[in-house]
Every structure is written in C-alpha cells, then in structure tokens.
Symmetry: C3
Subunit: 320 residues, 3 copies
Amino acid sequence: MKLLDLAKNLNLQHLGEDVEVHRVAPLEQATTGDLSFIVDGKWLQHKSQASAFIVHTKLAPLIPPGQSCLISDHPPLDAARAGVLLGMTPFDLEPGIHPQALVHADARLGDRVRVGPGAHIARGVVVGDDCVIHAGAVLHTGTTLGARCIVQSNTVIGADGFGYEFVQGRHVKIPHFGGVTIGDDVEIGACTTIDRARFGNTTIGDGSKIDNLVQIAHNCHIGKGCVIVGQVGISGSCHIKDYAILAGQVGVVPHVTIGEGARIAASTGVAEDVPAGATWSGWWGQNHRDNKIQIVMMRKLPELLKKLKHLIDSEGKNSP
Amino acid sequence: MKLLDLAKNLNLQHLGEDVEVHRVAPLEQATTGDLSFIVDGKWLQHKSQASAFIVHTKLAPLIPPGQSCLISDHPPLDAARAGVLLGMTPFDLEPGIHPQALVHADARLGDRVRVGPGAHIARGVVVGDDCVIHAGAVLHTGTTLGARCIVQSNTVIGADGFGYEFVQGRHVKIPHFGGVTIGDDVEIGACTTIDRARFGNTTIGDGSKIDNLVQIAHNCHIGKGCVIVGQVGISGSCHIKDYAILAGQVGVVPHVTIGEGARIAASTGVAEDVPAGATWSGWWGQNHRDNKIQIVMMRKLPELLKKLKHLIDSEGKNSP
Amino acid sequence: MKLLDLAKNLNLQHLGEDVEVHRVAPLEQATTGDLSFIVDGKWLQHKSQASAFIVHTKLAPLIPPGQSCLISDHPPLDAARAGVLLGMTPFDLEPGIHPQALVHADARLGDRVRVGPGAHIARGVVVGDDCVIHAGAVLHTGTTLGARCIVQSNTVIGADGFGYEFVQGRHVKIPHFGGVTIGDDVEIGACTTIDRARFGNTTIGDGSKIDNLVQIAHNCHIGKGCVIVGQVGISGSCHIKDYAILAGQVGVVPHVTIGEGARIAASTGVAEDVPAGATWSGWWGQNHRDNKIQIVMMRKLPELLKKLKHLIDSEGKNSP
C-alpha cells in the first residue's frame, strides 16, 4: 500500500516521498518496506531500516527533509490502524464459546462473547456483550462483568478474600458471601487475582485497565479509568479513585484511599491516604518531590558529613 | 429475622431497639433492613444506612444511645454466622469431583473432597478429607495435603524448584526429586506457587494461611499458624517458624530463618535471620522501631543539615 | 549401592569408609542410609544423620577424618546424578500429549514434546523438539519455542501487552500484532506471564532461566543465559543483555537496558540503564557498594547527628 493512501485513510498529514509499505514493525526489527512509529525524541536517532515512519506531531519539526512520514497525535494508535489497513490482524480468540471452555449452564453470557479453552465461568456469573474471556481464566460465582471487558488467560476473579479471625490460638476462616462487580470496557491482564467481598461487592469502575499478576483484595473499590500496572498489590477495603495510576509493583496497605488522579511511582509502598492529584514515591510512600530530594541528599550524605566535620575542625582552629 | 433472635442464636449481648434484618452488608453498601459490623473506632463515624450493627466489645461504650447493636469479641466472624442464619451462603464448589476436573487414577482423595473444573491432581498425589481444590489448580506428583485444606484457583503446588548449576558457561538444570507436604487446615490463595524440594520435601505446617500470588521456593519449611499475605516471595531453603506473619510483598533471601511469632511489615526485604517475636521493616529489613526513627530522620534531613550549617556559621562569627 | 561404586560411576574422589546408601536426602531430613550434600562451610556444623555426603572441593580440607564423602566441584548436580543411579526419578510429565491437553490442530509440535492436561497451545504456535509444557500453561498464537524448553504450570505466554493511548478522557486499547520468540533450553516457571509485542516480537535468548510469577512485558528483549528470579517485573521495551542476573522481586521501568553480566540484588528498582558487569541494589537502584555505604550511614545517622551537635557545642565553649 502507498503511504499517501494510508495518509488519506487515517486522515493524517504526509511528508516526504510516497513509498510503498507492507507491514508495521518496531524500529529495531523493521526493514525496507516496513512502516514504523516514533513517539520520543531520542528515537529519532535510531538508525532504523524502515521505509517510513508515523511521527508524533511535536517531533515534526525535527524530521530530516525528504524522510517519508505521517504526522500523528497518537502514533501507536495510528500504527495499529495502519496495521489493520495493511492486512495485519491482532491475535484474538475465535468467535464464540470454545468447545473446551467450562461454562456453567446457569451463567448468563451476553451477545458476541468469546470464551477460550479451559476458561471456567461458574454458576450465576454474568458476562456483558462483546466480552473476551481468555484460556484458563476463572470467573467464580458472584462475578458480574459489564460490556466489552477483556480477561486475559489464567486470571482468577472472585476467589475468597484473605480473612481470618485469631480465636483461641488458631486462624478461623471468615466466609466470603460477596462478589465482584466490574464495569464496562475493563481489561484485566494474565494471572491476576481479584477477590470477592466478604459481604457486598469488590468493585471496578468503567474503563479501568489492570495489568498482569496484580492482586486486588476483598472489598476494594477501584474507580473509573484507573491504570494499575503489573504486580501491584492492593490490600483489603482500599478505595482507588477515578483515573488514579499505580505503576508496577506498588503495594497498598488495607483501608487506604488513593485520591482521584493521583499517580504512584513504581515499587512505592502506600501506607496512608494519598490526596487527589498527588504524585507519590518511596519505599514508605510520600510526596514524590520530597522523596527525590531526600534520596539525592542521602546519596550525598557521606560527602556532606565529611565536609561538615572539616568545617567544624577549621572553625576550631580559627577560633582562639 | 429479628435482631433479638440473632442475639440469642449467636449468644451475643443486644442493645437498642429490636429491628428486623434480612442480610449482612458492608457499611458503605448497607441499606434499611441490613445488618453491618464495626471493628474500628473510626468506622463509628460512618453514616451507614444499615438498620443494625455488630460492634466490637471495646467500642460498646461509644455506641449512641438507642442504636440497635449486637456486642461481639469477633464482629467479622459473628457477621458471617449471622449471614448463615439469615440464609446467605458462601459461594463454594459443589460437592464431589467436577466431571471436567483432571484427576489422575492413581491420586488418593479423602472423603468429601471437592475438586473444581480444570483442576489437575497428578499421579500419586494425596489429598486429605474435606479438602477443596478450586478450578484450574495444579497439584503435581509428590504433593500431600492434610485434612480441610483449601487451594484456590490456578495455584500450582509442586512445580520444579528454580535450581541451576553454572557449568562451562551454561546453567544446567538440577532435577528435583522431592515433594511438597502440607498439614491440616492450610489455605492457599489463587495463582500462588509452591515448589517441590530437590530432595525431601518443602513443608507447610498445620493451620498456616497463604494468600494470592505468593511464591514459596523449594525446600522451604513454613511452620504452624503462619500468615503469609499476597505477593510475598520466599526464596529457597528458608525456615519460617510458627505463627510468624509476613505482610504483603515481603521478600526473603535464601537460607534465612524467621523466628517464631516474628512480624514482618509490608514490602520489607529480609536479608538475614529475624529473631523470634521481633517486628521488622525496611527495604533492607531491620528492627521496625529503628527503621521508623531513621525514616523520620531522613525526612528531616534537609532541614537538619540547614540548621547545622547555620549553627556552625554563627559559632564562627561569635568565636573571635 | 556402595559409596565406592557411586564414586566410580560419577567419577568423583572418595574419602572415609565405604558405606551403603539408598537414596539422596537434604541434611535435615536425612537418616541412616541416606546420602546428602554440602556446598557451604556452615553446613559442615549441621548434625545430619546421613551416612555419607557429597562435599564441595573447597571444603574438603575441613572434613573430619573417617567421614564417608565424595568430593565434587558441583555437589547439587552430582547429588542429582547419584539420585538417578540410586533409582530415584524426578517427577515429570509422562511422554506425549495428554489426552486432556488443549492443542490446536494448526500448532506445530516437534519430536518428543510433552504437553500436560489443560495446557493450551493455540493456532500457529511452534514448539521445538523435546519441550515440556506443563498443566494449564497457555501458549497464545504468535509464540515460538526452541528446543528443550520447559514451561511450568499455569504460565501464560503471548497475552496482549499492556498498552493504551489516552484519547479524549479514556484509555484506548492498542492492539498487539506481535508475538513471543523463545530460544533453546529456556525454562519458564509457574504462573509467569510473558506478553506479546505490539509489532515484531518479545524475545528470550538461548539458555535463559525464568522463575515463578515473573512479569515480562511487551517488546522486551532478554539475552542468552540470563537468570530472572521469582516475582521480577520487567516493563515494556527493556533490553536485558546476556548473562544478566535479576534477583527476586526486582522491578525495571520501561525502555531500560541492563548490561551484559550485570547483577541486580533482590527487590531493587531499576530506573535507568545499568552498565555491563555492574552490581546494583537499592529501592532506587544504584551501584551496590554506594547503596550499602549509604544504608550503613543512615543507620548511624541518629548517633552521628548527636555527635556532631556535641562537637559544635564544645567548640562553642572552647572558642572564646
């Protein structure tokens, strides 16, 4: 397909020569005839073999003259659209319920739902229209999914929460009667676990995206449009408000509220409420700016203390 | 059901008006006709719509006069018992071996064992009476479970330990001949992995509770009544003694002993033996009290160093 | 079997009396008639009941006179070999494709491949000779495995990467057209997730070993002979060069390069490129030596600041 035709189809501005492209490829794997994409200034230096690039609008002034490009506000998305136009297909489950899926007769599945082999949808589970449940995922009784949700392989939704009462020297299991209620357009990664509530429901709002190997404990309430990256662990009864972002491996202690639009840096431990809009980091999480200053200071500590000692010594010599 | 009838059945003290309750619900989701429960003083301020509450004994003096309550030493447990009396049932596997479970003919299952769809119980595995093995869980050869154990969905018990010997430039796999021996009343969360020993057995003692996404490596020995919270990782050949508590995301390096009743705070890295009864925390784990003082001091460091410099300067001016 | 016969078969030096041994067992579980093995000096103090030991060459001078031993450069490996000679067998899948495996008709499996019950190998997947795919593992379309790979139970290879573009207030999913390409002799632990690339392939080089519950995001490139321990999380588009070692729970932010042979300590957060051969540690990862000095200094900080203040005070008194 000609680059100019792609530009028309994708409604993007075109620069340079009109070359032929056959598929989309990442910068370092692309060869002649490939279209690649550039989001970041430093990637401009990459000596890619690609014939053309989809480049972010802000980088347009830096493009060398003559280079074949499409200019886009969202290069990764337009690269994906170009991929489809070039005949590439994302791998996906084939339509329908796989014959080796384990779907209970009393589960309620919407229209155009896809279920992979070995996935188990238990008695009473409700799955909205156009959901995709991948191989080996388990949806326990009490789980409700809205429309257009994606559950990746081997994820478990609705297992018992981790709750015990210590009575006379042993941990007595607290039964869990609740469920998990998930909104529309939620995606949940592979090998992730979302536990059912004791009573009522663990809830996840519309449009939230959850990565692989994430733990969301019983009675958590995740808002709309949240982004929860791989290996995050959220303890019981936390509130994560709309559009909060938790980077990889963040841990949150029980009963904490993370405010709307807050951003938590990777590997941060959250041990208290986070205000809306705040950016936090640190092993013992705090305001990111303070944390960074302290880390820089700690790295200078050996030198600082040496200087201070020297200052005191020289003061001592000058003083009498 | 009348609150007074519940009080009699649960053998609890009753306060306030005798109202009708229909089900148990969490504070924020409860409406008229619901019974909720309160463990923590700050929850007393919660404006719940519930008609009645099960309140912890220590909070009884704070209950507003007239409020319908039951007084309990273990509110979550009694709430669960109330739920059963009100006709609620915890979701559980139906009795018996699911027709789509993958149980080897030479596995030995005790009485009243439940096995979910897609769960695999391999050749020679022994499962005690009243165990529940949820969907997609895998019990490899060499695994033995005591009575009344619960294994949540997609957990893997008895995979090979991660052991290699670096010989002439490559990592040579060390075969694992051992197994995993688990006591009575052990619960293991979803997507958790417990590896088999090289020789002998990885062991988990009676009554220990293990959460989701936990890694327990080969040849570990976990004592009785331990609590191991979500995403904890325990390296090979560690000893975790009876009643130790490891909070979420704790990591333990190989060959470490954590003493009886020790408590390790969330996200702590344990790089050496922990004494019995100790409380530890920190990225590089140490006594929790020391760690807290150092963190507070580090947060004051920018200000402290400024003050010190000022002190030195003013000393300098005064001295001659 | 006599220890002397084992020595001959394993081509190892023999010390002490020629005793009869029946099986291999770990130090603390061994009884009379067992062979155990010793790698570490402190294990020499262990009061094991074993009849004989395989001892590391460097510890040979410390062996008490008369003790029955075999001397080895690789005790764990030779213990495993001894196990086989004594008739022990590592647990493994039975040969062939399990009748309850879920293998797509259009997957291409090499010779002598073993596939466990409930494992799903999707359309178009290529699996090399002598691979072992354990129960419940999922290999999505786009996955290619070299020869002699082992995939432990419930691991997911080739799920969609976690990629969204924020457009007009919502996270729009970026489709993933790429795959996962894995070399020869790679082992992947249980409940691990390796995501497919957006375009092109996520790649893992020959001989790399990956533990349980590891997350490897889309478009990562892992070199040859790497060791990636349990619960490590590697974000999108990272390069991990040959023979790098990432200890347990390490986290790596997106677009980072970890140089050849670098070693990252447990629980380290890697937020920038790591030079080849470096050893790094810390919550905010840095050179391990610097990190250790700073941690020691931080632990002394309360005392140091007290001393400094005292020094200033006494200077003040002496000065006039």
